[in-house]
Symmetry: C2
Subunit: 209 residues, 2 copies
DNA sequence: CCTTCAGGTTAACGACCGCTAACCTCCCTG
DNA sequence: CAGGGAGGTTAGCGGTCGTTAACCTGAAGG
């Protein structure tokens, strides 16, 4: 995957602006004329590049899910058995944080507009998301073997909620630098996992086997 | 606040169903006819109870924010100076978890449809939310005095993201019991705060006895 | 030089949606 | 028992939105 230096194609411009607008005002809250205006063309000109408004959302959501999953698989392959599970988990967390900080509109869309997709697209996205989650669950259970699988899955979803909170942060003041924010989020994610996994207070996980 | 035993009024029925539908398909994705149908009347009959579709959303969001803030203030008053800061923080977490588990549609709406409000309503909701956050920040900084204020605010937002992830949990299987889920979320929230507040990687739990 | 075609344009259609108007029907109350 | 308000109903208006149709244009290619 060579780093892109060439200018973005028109399709990419449209997708980027559509993502921003969808994240700001919701899928149904944005008209095609607005999306067109955001890239300098107007309204129906978009139909030279996309089959319809739905197709834009579909491509965005499939792209996000696929990108997250691909990145996670790559990180897992790089560590291939050699590295300690903690290191792999840290790598997953780092990748997710990068994504959450660099592509906030996409992160917002990702868990907000999924239900607006056609059935087939929605199934595809759900499948990619599920694979991503299961990948985290496996790594997490290597780090905390006492953790039961349902609890691990809940913990992963919860940490996603924590990491995906970045869109809510920016509203008030520029907040700490990107690096400091990333580090804080990373520490909190590890802390949350540790609290979930170090069979802590007692017994509630054991009870439900 | 006496526990309600009498039947819900029509207004309350409408609000409840509207919240569910808005959470499922988004504010713009739901028509007034659907909301009416959900409570057994049809379409324009709603206008006997609400000034418009916007008014329903506004009442929902203001209600949520107010309820969260009121509950937190009550919990803070109950502990009035006497209790240890850790206990107060636990109480806040418990209250938020109860809300997140019992009113999932509302939690979903709360950070999804805020921008669909009229300016005045949005300002009111934002103000209530801000007060709620600041209240958490104060308590958190009593527990972790080393924590700088911007970092504390970020940490609070992130933990809200963690706790508000409950809507994502239910999709696949009924998952652990409500009690077990609440306990897991509580531990993770404390763990995340501890990791944010104990400056440095380690030693954070041991120090705070 | 003619053709083709990618990538635009504006006009307009059909569907949907929020809301109002006009009307009906109980039930309560003086 | 009149009557009036609370809480419905259906019909329909006005606006918006996604999409299509028909047309235009500039650059590339034989």
């Amino acid at each position: 995957m060579a780093t892109r230096t060439d200018a973005p194609t028109r399709r990419e411009q449209i997708l980027k602006e559509a993502a921003r607008l969808f994240a700001e005002r919701g899928f149904h809250g944005v008209g095609v004329d607005e999306i067109g205006a955001a890239v300098g063309i107007s309204g129906p000109g978009l139909y030279r590049h996309f089959a319809g408004k739905d197709a834009m959302l579909a491509e965005l959501l499939v792209g996000i899910s696929g990108q997250l999953l691909t990145g996670a698989k790559r990180r897992l392959a790089e560590a291939d058995g050699a590295a300690a599970p903690e290191t792999v988990l840290d790598s997953l967390i780092e990748g997710h944080i990068d994504f959450a900080l660099d592509d906030r509109p996409l992160i917002t869309l990702h868990d907000r507009e999924l239900d607006r997709l056609r059935d087939s697209d929605r199934k595809l996205v759900r499948q990619l998301q599920r694979q991503y989650v299961e990948l985290w669950v496996e790594v997490l259970r290597e780090v905390y073997p006492e953790l039961a699988e349902p609890a691990a899955r809940s913990a992963v979803h919860s940490v996603f909620g924590l990491l995906n909170s970045t869109p809510h942060l920016s509203r008030r003041g520029p907040l700490p630098s990107r690096g400091a924010t990333a580090e804080l989020l990373h520490r909190m994610a590890r802390g949350a996992f540790a609290a979930a996994g170090g069979q802590g207070t007692p017994a509630q996980v054991a009870r439900e086997a």
